[in-house]
């Protein structure tokens, strides 16, 4: 119900994006992505605590059609470079999301932690998985979004800044992806 309402609001607002100031646009983003940096919308990522360069690159990819998510491609259409920068700078100020409050499965948390080490997630995303520069914060991201994103990197459907994530995901199994998402969503 909430998803439908939020998407409707976003679509309705999409047509008028060009005429809006950043201050007017941000609430449209947050209708789906969550007002306090924490998304309650299935498969829609929390934006809180993301580095501004990462946000900027993603909105750029949406605008250019290099990352394909039809709603987001529509939302980013017609934004100027200045819009992209103002939006990413503004969204980067949202507070980091809290870890998922859904009950953890200790065995999966354990396997996910081992997979984080095995696949060296910390090497780029940081010991706290908070990201930096063009590398996103993944700690406490939505579990469903994490799982979907990892699957998309593995299948080459998701186009990143470079090919590193596709390379990382090559040997990662579907079971590992599920455990990684479960664990990272609850990462403290």
């Amino acid at each position: 119900m909430r998803l439908v309402a939020a998407a409707g609001l976003a679509l309705a607002a999409g047509a008028g994006l060009r005429a809006q100031t950043v201050g007017e646009r941000v609430p449209v983003c947050l209708a789906c992505h969550g007002e306090k940096g924490q998304s309650a919308t299935p498969e829609v990522p929390s934006l809180g605590g993301q580095p501004a360069p990462y946000l900027l690159i993603q909105i750029y990819l949406f605008r250019e059609g290099q990352r394909v998510v039809p709603l987001m491609n529509q939302m980013a259409k017609g934004l100027s470079d200045d819009d992209l920068r103002a939006l990413s700078d503004s969204l980067a100020k949202l507070p980091a999301p809290a870890p998922s409050s859904e009950a953890p499965d200790p065995a999966r948390i354990e396997r996910g932690r081992a997979a984080i080490t095995r696949h060296r997630c910390n090497s780029c995303h940081g010991l706290d998985l908070a990201g930096r520069d063009n590398i996103p914060r993944i700690a406490a991201q939505r579990e469903d979004y994490l799982a979907r994103t990892l699957r998309e990197y593995k299948s080459n459907a998701r186009h990143g800044y470079d090919g590193v994530m596709a390379e990382v995901l090559g040997p990662v199994t579907d079971a590992e992806i599920a455990d990684l998402a479960h664990s990272i969503a609850r990462y403290r």
Binding site: A52, P53, L56, I57, Y60, D81, R85, N156, Y161, A166
Partner: protein, 413 residues
């Protein structure tokens, strides 16, 4: 899709800097991690690597005055200047027969052309809407463009910079892997187009369609594999004396910080196997895929180019401007390690050859991009211009530098 020509036309270098200083008084090299400025204020400088560097909306203020050329070190007598800046993610470089400089990109979606006319720099977009158009080749007036999974061309490109046609696809029998999918391409002395297909991952027992260099006719027909066991080459060129193909190859990650080293290889016969993923650096069996193989089964590299140093673009120096010792030597741009604790590379190394084509010695030619274990620039490709000067692309800063020999020395006397 109407190609547009950037309105920006500016004088080279010094006037460029002055113009940028006036246009963008608030310049900062800080990554945009701090709280954003108030909306009314001029935006801060784009962080290095930003996709917006070079976009034609007025904030393309690539910080030419912040480019690190004063920190770059070259042998005595060499000079370096900014040739062009404000072009996001500058990767492969090619010079046309009329002097046009073509620039590929891994992250952006267009191919840029730079023309110097009467001391001015003009920038053109010759193709756009592309996907990772990293690789370029120029041959007999035609520009070849390698996207992630297809090759296209524009004939007589230097005559149609103002209104180029949509590139014609000539070859698309390529995998779509993101990992090591971006390409470097070149036309060899055999008038064939050479196209690599990297391993689709860090260390993969790849199938018959990966881990190789192919060559094909200039219309895309007759493709055949000329080198196998190639993990990921992003640069190659032909020895002007022997006409043999030399290519850089990046070794696998995560085995250790210090091995394997990256490779400089030489192809002396069609179909040779260079080891990946069974053997790296000529003498190091892979812990996972080495069993059942011997390194002696494979062609060893002619030089080791450093651990994780990411040697990318390479050219034989065929100009006359540089001193004689550099003639027919190999210049290799090392992008620099990405995951090594102590970063390594981020420079240009020159390899001097013996008459038989083996490597005699090597030395760092250009350094200074690595500062306190951080990059202030990252070299990608080198290209020799008709006057013997050398261009160097830096994708981190969206810049192209030009290296010359002698002028400044003469001027200072």
């Amino acid at each position: 899709m109407t190609p547009f020509r950037l309105r920006r036309t500016h004088l080279l270098f010094s006037s460029t800097i002055a113009g940028l200083l006036m246009a963008a008084p608030v310049l900062s090299q800080q990554p945009a991690a701090q709280p954003a400025a108030a909306p009314a204020a001029a935006p801060a400088a784009l962080p290095p690597g930003s996709p917006l560097i070079g976009r034609p909306e007025g904030n393309e203020a690539a910080p030419a005055d912040k480019l690190p050329i004063s920190k770059l070190k070259l042998p005595p007598g060499f000079n370096i200047e900014v040739y062009a800046s404000g072009i996001a993610n500058t990767r492969s470089l090619r010079v046309g027969s009329k002097g046009t400089v073509f620039v590929g990109t891994r992250f952006g979606n267009k191919v840029t052309a730079i023309v110097r006319k009467d001391g001015k720099v003009e920038t053109y977009v010759v193709a756009q809407g592309l996907y990772r158009p990293n690789g370029l080749a120029f041959h007999n007036g035609t520009l070849y463009i390698a996207e992630l999974s297809q090759i296209s061309k524009i004939d007589n490109v230097e005559n149609v910079l103002d209104n180029p046609p949509k590139p014609t696809v000539i070859y698309s029998d390529l995998p779509k892997d993101e990992a090591h999918g971006w390409k470097f391409i070149a036309v060899g002395p055999d008038n064939k187009l050479y196209v690599p297909v990297g391993q689709p991952g860090n260390n993969v027992l790849h199938d018959k369609d990966h881990g190789q260099i192919r060559r094909m006719n200039l219309d895309g027909t007759g493709a055949e594999v000329v080198a196998r066991g190639v993990r990921n080459t992003v640069g190659f060129d032909w020895n002007p004396k022997t006409r043999e193909l030399y290519f850089s190859d990046n070794g696998r990650d995560w085995m250790s910080e210090d091995v394997p080293q990256d490779e400089l290889n030489r192809v002396t016969a069609v179909g040779q196997h260079f080891g990946a993923p069974h053997c790296y650096q000529g003498n190091l069996p892979d812990p996972e895929f080495g069993w059942g193989h011997s390194c002696s089964d494979f062609v060893p590299p002619v030089a080791l180019t450093g651990p994780h140093s990411a040697g990318l673009g390479m050219r034989f120096y065929t100009g006359k401007m540089f001193p004689a010792k550099y003639h027919n030597a190999i210049f290799l741009a090392r992008h620099g390690s990405w995951n090594r604790s102590k970063k390594f590379g981020g420079d240009v190394v020159v390899y001097f050859l013996n008459k038989d084509g083996t490597v005699k010695s090597s030395e760092v030619f250009l350094s200074g991009f690595l500062e306190n274990n951080s990059y202030i620039g990252r070299p990608v490709d080198v290209e020799v211009m008709a006057d013997g000067s050398m261009l160097l692309s830096d994708d981190w800063n969206g810049a192209i530098y030009r290296i010359t020999y002698g002028k400044q020395k003469v001027a200072s006397k």
